[in-house]
């Protein structure tokens, strides 16, 4: 074998080169996968420093929790408190603005978790204003340099949900603006890159002093708060992970309950003699918290009385009214220590029916009810005037309306005991500190002219003590919100009335509640940042697979080239093979010997290819950092090499090459030994195999393949028409692929048929002869045509999918759904942007607001999360979720690629809950399929606010829409499962295209304090499409390289054909054929193969792309497609010309010599 290897070294060198190319491409694709994973991992780790995990809270918690956590974690664990808030930044002079800024309040403990954190100095930094460090991305975005002034706008966190009557605030008052001096610009990879949502693009981060930020947001008293606690678990993490497989989140989760206090959970325990009053800083106690507190108390034998207090704008009866009173809903106390309501006549108040009310004596007197009916004359109660309560109802868009409830008077309550307990009303923001009613400062309108002196007297004496009482069931029905229904729990210990009992119960609640209550129910979450980051770095897209796919044509071309080269090499050695067979070597032994030779050639070639793989991967990554940057968004990908990939690539390439070599040898077995001895191993040898029937059989088989392909294609087309799925890409692709097979089968059949008579074309006889000759060597011709046809098929399909045309964003069926603008705000808006007066309240001026006249703005609730579109390289674990409002569901629009049910408006499928814990969801087809790796009818598991698993089941998938970054559920389900997310942060608006720019400008300037950014929906879709089309152009580029290899293959086939037929060509020359005529004939022969390949591939490609071709929305790129196909033909013909020129220049005469 060694002799053979050296003797035929030229042929072998070509085979080895082919193997090297196949290995370089295949392994290179694997290395791209390594590099993407490695780069994302590096980026994630750089941004985390030594942070392993974090506690994230919706509210500000005490900073001391950080120390408590560190103690609980033990060992050398380190923790740091921080405040992380979304906001926007404006350059103090240029007014350059950036939204989507992470404002991060930190101190030296946070900085110490990063190797380069020491450069952050908030104390020593000079400057006109307090210092801020901007990361490079933010500094670049607004053009800020050290010393410049910047204005940061952030939303002040609120303990009380803003979508409640008591939590309501003027929009402008929720924004806190900080004027700061830039103390320095820090790297995007240290603390300046910290982010909770991994993304390869650079986050915009502003680092400020934690305490200073806290004081601005929470006031001097409550300033030492934090909503983010990061932890470096130190050696403990590694030891824990090593010993028991405990994750960082689990370790932190174990330490958290011990570190949390009831106050951290928003609970305030107020001790009174004989009873404990439990209230929430949120005003209403979240249901899960109330349930846990009740359970802990009852387990200790305590009596629990739930209370719900609300504000009545008026208590009215018989034409008289008492303005602005609190009303408490409660049940008769289960224990005397909790206090009881006593009627004016000294009897205990009765249990109330849902339509009954008790009025306190003060209000009864004011309403002229004296002792009141139902006490002295219960029978007369039915005839008495009903008691009406007017109260505010807050709508979803912050719209206040007044509702009225009617009750029957059940009695008048004496002004004593429970009836005068001011703690029945929790601290009412804006009210409780006021000395008189005139000084109230609530966020709802108060008509001060209705306040009478006697009301002030009541306030002076009783403050917010309720004037009326209703049944708890009635209170729940009237005033419950998604945030809860109880304002306090009154608890009496089981034992004797003593302070010890109360203290003991309070201590038990302090200790038990953090253990009993899932912190997530209190808005406190755990994030295993390092583990999540590393997992997410594995990528949403398998880049190794992607680039293998993109390079597949190149790999296939290289493999075919190897097979072809090896086969031609073997054919040249036909006599040697014949001799070995003649002297008794079994066919299998000869084949093995040649296969071993092939392996011996390919192995070093493949090894050399590994070096090429590094270059190929490097080049692709360089491409992804430059020409193909839109595909990955940020130039963060650098070469990473895993030895396993090299080994796997080498082995896989060897397997591919050996399959190609084996294919090359398969034909040899069928050539009879005499033919081999005569030097014929190719088509001539097979001809000599004798029976004429063999060719006919091959012809019949080819015809059968063609017919079957045609049948399948026709069947799929008929099915498409019958089923009305004219836009189904899968069916169309199937039909196109079947047609491709049919075309190749037809060509194979034609090769064996009679073909064109050589004189049929008259003066163009050479062309006719060439065309006829193209079918002479069926195997080679089919290979060539197959290669070209496959390439053209892919080129057409890819071109069709690029959808280069402009989309009509004003069209409801487009990916923009008829909305020309998309806007997103850093600070959620509660107001309805469709109403002029609400826009003014938000701070827009008349002109800005007027720009929106006649424009419909549809607001969506937004749960911040990770981008699920192809713009995010990281694997999203917590998707961005949008709550779709009812008006959007009713409006419909957009085009659905798939829907779970055949309904006119698939948006309606979002309504309702499918089963407990499963809600319907809509996503974009591409994102759901490729990034979330899910599909129609499948579930995506997320965690809702209570900590319970929530399954989002896809009931509809949108086609190429602007919703590629998020998953959509109904607003109803959104607020049910994420109740604390107040307001709307995502907006769609439908101004006519010519007004879109003006409306966008009005929104951005009028609402700049909310960090609102408006962009054209076309631009948003274009950004998604840019990724897609960049991948497609990558594919086209790599496919083009494959085609280059393919044309090299074609050239080799042609060269070989000409060499084999030198005698034939010499004969023609002897009969007077000119060299030029012969060249024309050979070129026509190759041209026929190319034309057949292009025609078969392009036609079947067009059928496969039928939905794109006929779709009105996407312009089909006819000119560029035609140019590409012409380039394929030209490249093929050029390689043919080169091959023909090389071979026909040599004298042919020698082939005719008989001596």
């Amino acid at each position: 074998m060694r002799r053979s290897l050296t003797w035929y070294w030229r042929a072998h060198l070509a085979v080895a080169a082919g193997a090297a190319v196949a290995t370089a491409v295949l392994t290179g694709a694997l290395l791209v996968g390594d590099s993407v994973r490695g780069s994302l991992r590096d980026l994630a780790l750089d941004r985390l420093g030594s942070i392993d995990a974090a506690v994230v809270s919706e509210r500000g918690l005490r900073q001391g929790l950080a120390d408590d956590l560190a103690r609980g974690l033990g060992g050398d664990a380190r923790t740091a408190p921080a405040l992380l808030l979304p906001g926007s930044a404006v350059h103090g002079e240029t007014r350059a603005r950036a939204s989507g800024v992470d404002v991060l309040g930190i101190d030296e403990r946070f900085a110490a978790l990063y190797p380069d954190g020491g450069e952050l100095d908030f104390e020593g930094a000079g400057g006109l204003f307090p210092p801020v460090y901007l990361n490079e991305a933010l500094a670049g975005e607004i053009g800020a340099a050290p010393g410049d002034a910047v204005l940061l706008s952030i939303q002040r966190p609120s303990d009380v949900p803003r979508e409640t009557l008591v939590g309501r605030e003027d929009a402008a008052e929720t924004i806190e603006s900080l004027r700061l001096s830039v103390a320095g610009v820090v790297s995007d990879r240290g603390p300046g890159g910290f982010t909770l949502a991994p993304h390869q693009t650079r986050p915009l981060v502003a680092l400020v002093d934690l305490d200073r930020l806290g004081r601005r947001l929470f006031g001097r008293a409550g300033g030492r708060r934090a909503n983010l606690f990061v932890a470096d678990l130190g050696a403990a993490a590694e030891a824990g992970a090593g010993a028991s497989g405990t994750t960082a989140a689990e370790r932190l989760g174990t330490a958290l309950p011990a570190a949390l206090t009831a106050a951290d959970l928003g609970i305030e325990l107020r001790r009174f003699p004989g009873r404990l009053v439990v209230e929430s800083r949120e005003f209403v106690i979240p249901p899960a918290t109330a349930e846990a507190i009740g359970a802990i108390a009852r387990e200790r034998g305590a009596a629990v009385a739930p209370v719900s207090t609300y504000l009545a704008n008026a208590i009215r009866s018989g034409g008289r009214e008492v303005p602005y009173s609190t009303v408490t809903a409660l049940e008769p106390a289960p224990a005397a220590a909790l206090g009881r309501l006593m009627l004016a006549d000294g009897r205990p108040a009765p249990a109330l029916a849902e339509d009954e009310i008790l009025i306190n004596a003060w209000a009864a007197a004011d309403l002229g009810l004296a002792a009141g009916p139902g006490v002295e004359d219960p029978a007369g109660a039915a005839d008495a005037d009903p008691i009406e309560l007017d109260y505010y109802v807050l709508g979803a868009r912050d719209e206040l309306s007044t509702a009225t409830a009617r009750f029957r008077l059940a009695g008048v309550v004496a002004m004593e005991g429970l009836a005068v307990d001011p703690r029945l009303t929790p601290d009412f923001p804006g009210l409780q500190d006021a000395d008189d009613i005139a000084a109230w400062n609530p966020a709802f309108p108060v008509e001060l002219d209705r306040i009478r002196p006697r009301d002030e007297d009541y306030w002076d004496r009783y403050k917010a003590t309720p004037k009326a009482f209703v049944a708890l069931a009635a209170g729940r029905r009237l005033w419950r919100s998604r945030f809860g229904e109880l304002t306090s729990l009154r608890i009496a210990p089981a034992g004797p009335k003593s302070d010890d009992g109360v203290d003991g119960l309070a201590a038990a609640l302090e200790a038990e509640l953090p253990r009993r209550l899932d912190p997530r129910a209190a808005g406190i979450g755990l994030r295993a940042l390092r583990e999540d980051g590393l997992r997410a770095a594995s990528g949403a897209t398998d880049f190794a697979g992607l680039f293998l796919g993109l390079s597949m044509f190149l790999i296939a071309s290289a493999a075919m080239l190897v097979g072809l080269l090896f086969r031609l090499g073997v054919e040249r050695r036909a006599r040697e093979v014949g001799l070995l067979r003649a002297v008794g070597f079994p066919a299998r032994a000869v084949r093995r010997r040649l296969l071993a030779e092939g392996a011996a050639i390919a192995a070093p070639g493949a090894l050399l290819g590994l070096a090429g793989a590094l270059a190929y991967a490097w080049a692709l990554l360089a491409g992804l950092r430059s020409w193909w940057l839109p595909a990955v968004g940020a130039p963060v990908l650098f070469l990473h090499v895993e030895p396993l990939s090299l080994a796997l690539g080498w082995a896989s390439s060897m397997a591919v090459v050996l399959v190609a070599v084996r294919w090359a040898l398969a034909r040899l077995d069928r050539v009879p030994v005499p033919a081999l001895l005569a030097g014929a191993a190719g088509a001539d040898g097979l001809d000599r195999a004798g029976p004429a029937g063999a060719g006919a059989r091959r012809g019949r088989r080819a015809a059968g393949v063609a017919a079957a392909g045609l049948l399948v294609a026709a069947g799929l087309e008929v099915w498409t028409l019958v089923s009305g799925r004219a836009s189904s890409p899968a069916l169309a692709f199937g039909a196109g692929a079947a047609l491709l097979v049919a075309g190749l089968g037809g060509f194979a059949w034609w090769c064996g048929g009679p073909g064109l008579a050589p004189n049929a074309l008259g003066r163009l006889a050479a062309v006719g002869m060439g065309a006829r000759n193209s079918g002479r060597n069926r195997g080679r011709s089919l290979l060539s045509v197959g290669l070209v046809a496959s390439a053209c098929f892919l080129i057409v399909v890819v071109a069709a999918n690029r959808g280069e045309g402009e989309i009509d964003v004003a069209d409801r069926a487009s990916g923009a759904g008829g909305f020309t603008l998309v806007a997103e705000s850093d600070v959620p808006l509660l107001s309805d942007l469709n109403r002029h007066e609400r826009r003014l309240e938000l701070g827009m001026d008349d002109e800005e607001s007027g720009a929106l006249d006649g424009v419909t703005v549809v607001p969506f609730r937004l749960l911040p999360g990770e981008d699920v579109s192809c713009l995010n390289l990281y694997r999203p674990e917590r998707p961005r979720i949008l709550g779709v409002p009812p008006e959007m569901i009713a409006r419909g629009g957009f085009t659905f690629q798939q829907a779970a049910a055949p309904v006119d408006n698939p948006w309606t499928l979002l309504e309702g809950e499918l089963e407990p814990g499963v809600v319907p969801a809509i996503g974009d087809y591409n994102s759901v399929l490729w990034i979330l790796h899910s599909g129609l009818g499948k579930d995506l598991a997320v965690v809702d606010e209570s900590g319970a698993e929530l399954r989002l089941r896809f009931v509809g998938l949108l086609s190429r829409s602007l919703f590629q970054s998020e998953v959509l559920i109904s607003e109803e389900n959104f607020v049910r499962h994420f109740p604390s997310r107040s307001g709307y942060s995502f907006f769609l608006a439908d101004p006519p295209p010519e007004r879109a720019a003006g409306v966008a400008a009005a929104l951005e300037t009028g609402l700049d304090r909310f960090g609102l950014d408006a962009t054209g929906s076309g631009e948003r879709i274009a950004a998604f499409r840019a990724v897609e089309s960049t991948y497609l152009s990558t594919f086209q580029t790599l496919g083009g390289l494959g085609l280059v290899l393919g044309t090299v293959g074609l050239g080799i086939v042609l060269l070989r054909n000409v060499l084999e037929r030198r005698a034939e060509l010499a004969t023609l020359q002897a009969f007077g054929f000119r060299r030029r005529t012969l060249a024309g004939m050979v070129l026509a022969e190759n041209g026929a193969l190319l034309a057949a390949g292009v025609a078969i591939g392009a036609l079947s490609g067009l059928v496969a792309s039928a939905p794109h071709v006929v779709a009105g929305g996407h312009g089909f790129p006819w000119p560029s497609l035609a140019a590409t196909l012409a380039a394929v033909l030209a490249a093929g013909m050029l390689s043919s010309v080169a091959a023909v020129a090389g071979t026909l220049r040599a004298p042919l005469l020698g082939a005719l010599r008989s001596e």
Binding site: P758, L764, E1064, T1067, L1068, A1070, G1072, R1074
Partner: protein, 227 residues
Amino acid sequence: MTAGGGLALAGVQKSYDVGPQKLEVLAGIDLALAAGEELAVTGPSGSGKSTLLHIVGTLDRPTAGSVSIDGEDPFALPEPRLARFRNRVVGFVFQDHHLLPQYTVLENVIVPTLAFPGDGAGDEAWARELLERVGLGGRLAHRPAELSGGERQRAAVARALVNRPRLLLCDEPTGNLDRKSAAAVVDLLFELHRDAATILIAVTHSLEIAARFGRRAELVEGRCVEA
């Protein structure tokens, strides 16, 4: 030999450079044949028989000397006209039939008429007639692979005559045939040669076949010695 017509070779030499040395194959051939004459050229392997035939057939150029066919020096013609000259004046029969495997017998015979298409109306009818005369009238649609060796060579003879050449050159026309087939092919050659009054030159190793030719010459050391 006639001055204005027939074939005339004068002092034709052919030599090749083989490394530093010069290999002289033809050392000065003088030859003249009139229409209707036939010549068998014999000689040992490597004596230059095929080279002589290729020069006569204008496939190869002499190193020195002149060739005249019907008074015309073909080598003075530019390439396109030389090709047309060869197409119209010369017919070849080779030892290997060199039939095109992808064509039928009839198509193979027609092929020489396609080098300059449009010149000859009725080419196909003439090809059919020729094939009738060589005994292949019933095999017109057959491919070469479906014919015997003798049949293939008869088809090659028909192909050589399809353009009604004045010069019929045969290079070992029976070298691959058995005796019986060889005799049949030679019979056919003579018959067609006489009918068309061509100049027939055949290179052969077979003295038996050579003996049937009116003139015979042997190539010895690059020179033509006529018997």
